[in-house]
């Protein structure tokens, strides 16, 4: 890996997502002709979306969506656009500490199977199962209905503030990259 240089050839296109890169013996190696006249580097498919998502498959993940929602579920299917299918998904709603609650609150709402279009994905995090048993630091689990209503209230307030800010900026001639859309 140390031998990688900036002039390395880009990966070949049209290689369909396939089995784990170089795992175990057994099956035949993927048909990658070694580049002529240079030392063997990591296989090109190592640097594909598929390879990145492959080790997350069948793991418990935290998915952050573009609208700010956080889903927790098990990744079952995906493609190179990061379209995803999650199983046994829950939506986790957080209410950060504020005037209504001195400590943060969260609640899990089961939503079942979830298919997500890739463009809505912000990030996918693999959950450390050792840490997963505890509440996030500074947060307590609370009644879903309470958390839902608090979160709704909080979101409305934030949106109002954000709208105001965007309006003031727009008056000054600034156009933000996410006009009015609150990203959390």
């Amino acid at each position: 890996m140390e031998n990688l240089t900036i002039s390395d050839p880009p990966p070949q296109h049209g290689i369909p997502p396939q089995g784990p890169p170089q795992q175990g013996g057994g099956g035949p190696m993927p048909q990658m002709p070694p580049p002529m006249g240079r030392p063997q580097q990591l296989p090109a498919q190592y640097f594909t979306t598929a390879a990145q998502l492959l080790d997350l498959t069948d793991k418990k993940l935290m998915l952050s969506l573009r609208d700010g929602r956080k889903m927790i579920g098990i990744l079952r299917t995906w493609d190179s656009y990061a379209n995803l299918v999650l199983q046994s998904t829950v939506e986790r709603i957080f209410v950060p500490p504020g005037p209504t609650n001195p400590r943060g609150l969260y609640a899990d709402i089961p939503v079942g199977i979830f298919l997500v279009r890739g463009e809505n994905v912000v990030l996918l995090g693999e959950i450390d199962l050792d840490k997963d048993d505890e509440d996030p630091p500074g947060y307590d689990q609370a009644d879903p209905e309470l958390v839902k209503s608090l979160a709704k209230q909080r979101k409305a307030d934030d949106q109002k503030k954000e709208k105001n800010k965007v309006k003031k900026l727009a008056d000054l001639g600034f156009l933000g990259e996410n006009m009015g859309e609150l990203l959390l």
């Binding site: 240089t5 002039s7 640097f47 979306t49 990145q52 912000v122 693999e126 840490k131 996030p136 630091p137």
Partner: protein, 100 residues
């Protein structure tokens, strides 16, 4: 493809990725692909209390389209090499245009 190749040279280095929603995530760059999707390992989040959903997360896959900045370790960037590669890329582009 230049930036893709460039990020490939940064693999196994510590970087900080700043997302368009202002979250900053620091971690070891493990993988990058043609869309500049990024995979980080052993992450830590700047301002952790604001982002409780990341407290139990160790590795992340970040979609390239939501990245605003990647803060690089200066020592890992070979500036002359990068400049060279940029010129070569520009020359290639120019040649392609002329051929059309």
């Amino acid at each position: 493809m230049l930036f893709f190749s460039f990020f490939k040279t940064l693999i196994d280095h510590e970087v900080t990725v700043e997302l368009k929603n202002d979250i900053q995530i620091r971690g070891t760059l493990k993988s990058v692909d043609q869309y500049l999707n990024i995979k980080l390992e052993n992450i830590s989040v700047v301002q952790e209390i604001k982002y409780p959903h990341l407290s139990a997360v160790k590795n992340v896959f970040i979609r390239g389209s939501v990245v605003r900045y990647v803060h690089l370790p200066a020592a890992a960037v070979d500036v002359p090499l990068l400049e060279d590669a940029t010129r070569r890329e520009a020359a290639n582009e120019a040649r392609k245009r002329n051929e059309k």
